[in-house]
């Protein structure tokens, strides 16, 4: 039996008392009605993600569950410290990778790990961005297995998405259930856009002045996360640009406006490294800005997150996070990793092969819940096929125990039932590290499912952090 966020052995946990009263007083038909209202609202506002090429409606909704996930102040304190520590360690590691490479020379991590990593950009060697920050927006995926047992499942240090749902989910809950917030015990999340703007301002290049020109860069409105790009630009009151809106001259970046070229100092890009600059990376990409990397390396513009940060968030590096945290911060990890076997190591591989039916296997460079094997949920044939792939290229895989992810009460057709959840808070790293009290709780809507990714039918919940 998995740990439930709300109640175990018939005892409702302290932080959920308010919700318990609300659920007791509310008829389930009303909840279903409200859920439909929420969906209609999302459609009307256009809070959707676009899926092209699969047929059907291109405009999809992420299922929104009305029952919030709640953290007490004590729980949040742990998460806050743990996530900030993680964000610092990740940044120091990337800085070192593109700087002195001390951690490799100290023998803490084999340097060969870089050779196998597509996200490592030799072009970035010797680059130190303003304030020494590489990954400014970090999404840390957490799971929980017991009252005190939080684990980091994954770091997202390139272009983590989902923060718009943190904000919109709260907005929707406040709209549908204003009474729930009357007591004033839920900490607000709407400071995020302001903090983001502050962070981006802090990392502007030298000479940008007190009010640097900030833009959000999107691959375009056909991108699945376009809504979020547009939302964040709107919330911060900065232009949302596409590659074609920008150009580089004398190692400075400009945008094309109705009154001629205007300077750009900070680019919060939501586009992959490979598409940033056709001169530096993929020459066939029409999405990027020719010369952007040149301007970046010359210090004319700040790219957020920095190119090449992906070097710190794949699963091969993940399992070295205890060493990384110790090496740079001299600290033990506040939020531990999930125990992980590197299949590249013969002993680990042997253990994984012997226990594959009980484990979760992941591709080292995979993301988004694709390319996984969940042993206990897989058929014999699926396991055998996956095992063949692992034997053929062990270093491309890691394995983890199947965790009993915590569950959270969720409104489903049959009523309110426990569903597995994870949690992604968003750390902002500028001259200081900031964390908004909240984040994105993702929920696997299918009974028993452990896969929470929206691309795989996962839903989202509002996440409350209580004041006490």
């Amino acid at each position: 039996m998995a740990f439930d966020e709300m109640q175990n052995d018939g005892q409702v946990r302290e932080a959920y008392q308010v919700l318990q009263r609300w659920l007791d007083e509310t008829h389930q038909d009303d909840l279903h009605q409200k859920r439909r209202e929420a969906e209609a609202l999302f459609r009307r506002l256009g809070i959707t993600f676009a899926v092209y090429g699969e047929g059907g409606d291109v405009d999809r909704l992420i299922p929104f569950d009305l029952i919030p996930r709640v953290f007490s102040a004590t729980e949040w304190d742990l998460i806050d410290r743990g996530v900030k520590q993680r964000a610092r360690a990740l940044n120091l590691f990337v800085k070192d990778v593109y700087g002195g490479k001390e951690i490799f020379r100290a023998g803490e991590i084999p340097e060969s790990i870089l050779a196998n990593n597509d996200a490592y950009l030799p072009l970035m060697d010797g680059v130190t961005p303003p304030a020494g920050v590489f990954t400014h927006i970090v999404g840390v995926d957490l799971v929980r297995t017991g009252p005190e047992d939080f684990f980091v499942l994954e770091d997202n240090a390139r272009t983590p998405s989902g923060v718009s749902y943190m904000l919109e989910n709260r907005e929707t809950m406040r709209r549908l259930f204003p009474d729930l917030f009357q007591s004033g015990s839920v900490r607000p999340v709407d400071g995020y856009p302001d903090l983001l703007r502050k962070t981006l301002t802090e990392v502007a290049p030298e000479g940008a002045g007190q009010y640097p020109s900030i833009v959000v860069m999107t691959p375009g409105h056909f991108n699945s996360a376009y809504y979020e790009h547009s939302f964040l630009a709107d919330e911060m009151g900065v232009p949302l640009v596409e590659g074609s809106d920008l150009f580089v001259e004398d190692d400075k970046v400009f945008m094309r406006t109705t009154t001629g070229p205007q300077p750009v100092h900070v680019i919060y890009r939501r586009i992959d490294d490979a598409f940033l600059d056709p001169e530096a990376f993929r020459p066939d990409s029409a999405l990027g800005v020719p010369g952007l990397m040149r301007a970046y390396r010359a210090g004319g513009v700040t790219i957020v997150n920095a190119p090449g940060t992906g070097v710190c968030d794949d699963k091969a590096i993940y399992c070295y996070m205890p060493e990384i945290t110790r090496f740079y911060l001299g600290e033990e990890m506040i939020l531990p990793n999930v125990p992980t076997w590197r299949c590249s190591e013969p002993d680990a591989l042997a253990h994984v092969m012997d226990n594959i039916a009980d484990l979760v296997l992941k591709e080292v460079h995979g993301s988004g819940g694709y390319g996984m094997l969940i042993g206990p949920a897989a058929t014999k044939a699926e396991i055998d096929a996956y095992a063949d792939r692992v034997r053929a290229d062990p270093k491309a895989f890691i394995a983890q125990p199947t965790l009993a992810l915590s569950t959270s009460p969720t409104l489903v057709e049959a009523g309110i039932a426990p569903r597995h959840v994870d949690f992604r808070p968003f750390a902002l790293v500028g001259k200081q590290v900031r964390l908004t009290p909240g984040g994105l709780t993702r929920v696997a809507m299918r009974e028993g499912s452990l896969v929470v990714n929206s691309s795989q039918g996962g839903g989202v919940k509002d996440t409350w952090v209580l004041t006490s």
Partner: protein, 330 residues
């Protein structure tokens, strides 16, 4: 403002206006085909004329000559291969709006998003008999909601002016085309001045432009071809007349000039067109040929749109597929 955003806003203004104007064009024909023969039912095919006026000849080819209501409705309202169909206009307006979401107010965005979503519920099978009128009213209402949302909620700045500019340019084009339908329906009509047929046909035209009462109010005169043409081309106060919208476009650019504090390259040609139209009498227009005059206006208007594009740095249109292929959000 980013040039791309300005361009998108301009086109949103055009697309929404275009949807409305196609609805008005269909309404004019709908009225004409319900007239008994002795009250102006022409011997030519009105649906075919409407399609020709809407520029469908390229796409439908020979079929355009014999097109009946069902084909015309399909083409003008639903056909996604027709770049000017109502469905396409709402779809493109919505795509453009989504691409510049932050440049629109919540209300204006919702007006477009709702039109697009609801449009998907209509199919040609739903639009039989009296339902056609319901659909036309619905289209006009959506356009009105968008216009009203802009009017009531948008900052009076460059964004507002670009939308206004797009709407004015589009309306000039469509009023010219609406008048031209008449030309196609009853060629050569001007010799038949005063006949009963003529009277009702021109009345249909006024009704489609929501201009019937305005016409009587402003002219205190009977419906005559010359009177209607004069009203729809030269009236300074009727919001769908050609001259009114040329002035509107001119005023929008004047506002842009003052907003940006710098003169615009596209102002002069607009002012020239406005002045030229004001100096013309309806007799001069009719004597030189209504069709030729309208064709000339449509061409000048298109050129003015190009001048605007040049003045504010609109980019050449880039294929939609550029947005794909980088979808690696974490």
């Amino acid at each position: 403002m980013l040039s791309r955003v300005a361009e998108n806003l301009f086109w949103i203004g055009r697309y929404v206006e275009r949807a409305e104007n196609v609805a008005r064009l269909i309404d004019a024909v709908r009225r004409m085909v319900t007239l008994p023969a002795q009250f102006g039912r022409s011997t030519t095919n009105e649906w075919s004329s409407a399609l020709i006026a809407a520029g469908a000849r390229d796409q439908l080819g020979k079929e355009v000559e014999s097109a009946e209501q069902q084909i015309a409705i399909q083409h003008l309202i639903f056909d996604m291969d027709n770049p000017s169909s109502v469905k396409n206009s709402f779809t493109r307006a919505r795509e453009n709006a989504r691409a510049v979401r932050a440049a629109l107010t919540q209300e204006s965005w919702e007006a477009i998003n709702t039109a697009w979503r609801e449009m998907r519920d209509f199919t040609p099978e739903h639009v039989k008999g009296a339902q056609l009128l319901d659909l036309l009213d619905w289209i006009k209402a959506k356009s009105a909601i968008f216009r009203g949302s802009n009017y009531g909620t948008m900052m009076r700045g460059d964004g507002y002016d670009f939308i206004r500019m797009g709407a004015a340019i589009e309306r000039i084009d469509s009023t010219a085309r609406l008048l031209d339908v008449k030309y196609h329906v009853l060629l050569p009509t001007l010799q038949d001045v005063g006949s009963v047929e003529d009277h009702y046909q021109w009345l249909s035209l006024l009704q489609a432009a929501s201009a019937q009462r305005a016409y009587f109010f402003a002219t205190q005169a009977d419906v005559t071809p010359k009177g209607v043409a004069k009203f729809l081309i030269l009236n300074n106060h009727f919001p769908r007349s050609i001259v009114f919208n040329v002035r509107l476009a001119d005023a929008a650019v004047a506002d842009l000039e003052s907003f940006y504090g710098q003169p615009s390259l596209c102002r002069q040609p607009l002012s020239d067109l406005a002045n030229r139209l004001s100096s013309l009498s309806i007799d001069q227009i009719l004597n030189a040929g209504l069709h030729e005059f309208l064709t000339d206006v449509i061409e000048q208007n298109a050129k003015n749109a190009l001048h605007l594009a040049e003045a504010y740095g609109f980019a050449p249109i880039i294929g939609e597929e550029t947005g794909l292929g980088s979808d690696t959000e974490q």
